[in-house]
């Protein structure tokens, strides 16, 4: 079973390149069971969107 720290690695990676099928599946499985990581994933996405504020 993948633990949270490793899951955050995949969440981060997902912002930078498409995940492989296996990576996607193990992340999805973990997220389905872990509410803290679901929040973390939302936060990473928000950080990504926040970076675009300089686009005029």
């Amino acid at each position: 079973m993948m633990m949270c720290k490793k899951a955050t690695r995949l969440m981060s990676l997902k912002q930078d390149r498409p995940l492989t099928f296996q990576e996607r599946m193990s992340l999805r499985l973990h997220l389905s069971m872990c509410s803290a990581c679901r929040e973390c994933e939302r936060q990473f996405t928000l950080l990504h969107e926040a970076g675009r504020r300089f686009d005029p």
Binding site: T8, S12, L13, R17, E49, G51, F54, P56
Partner: protein
Amino acid sequence: MKEQEDRLQRLTAVRPRLFSFAFMHLRDRSQAEDAVQEAMMSAIEKHESFAGRSSYETWVFGILKYKILDAMRAQKRDGRWQPLENEDDDDAIDRQFQQNGRWQQSARPSSWGEPEAAFETEHFWQTFDACMIALPDNAARVFSLRELMGLSTGDICRELGIKENNCWVILHRARLHLRACIEKGWLKGATP
């Protein structure tokens, strides 16, 4: 003439944003200031080459990006960069997790609400900026290139001369640092 006047005004208006953009990448006030000045100078000199396909501000930001990349290369040449390899030990990150890889109770992420609502809050941006400044230099540079400048990790690696895998490790750490810092500062009101 009227048009030039108008553009000069727009340049002046966008200058603070140009500066904070440059500062986040270069982390040095005077170098950021220089990059902005150079970008503004070339925008004025080359104003005829502005084709109007994008907004004027976007065009100026585009010029600034090249100036920032030049300045970063110079920083690297001058040895102002810590080696990027040795970032495996990161206590601040390790403290967010237990030995077994689960979140520490005190570090468990909580909800930040809707992004749009956060983005409308001045306090969110103040916290974001403070947390960017609190990031370790390398993490901040790579994160800025990726998320503010929008470069791919492949481009960043070529630019910085590091392996892509290294880039992903740095970005992972940067994001974990940032999220913890923002959560503390923004939701819980602590100063980063």
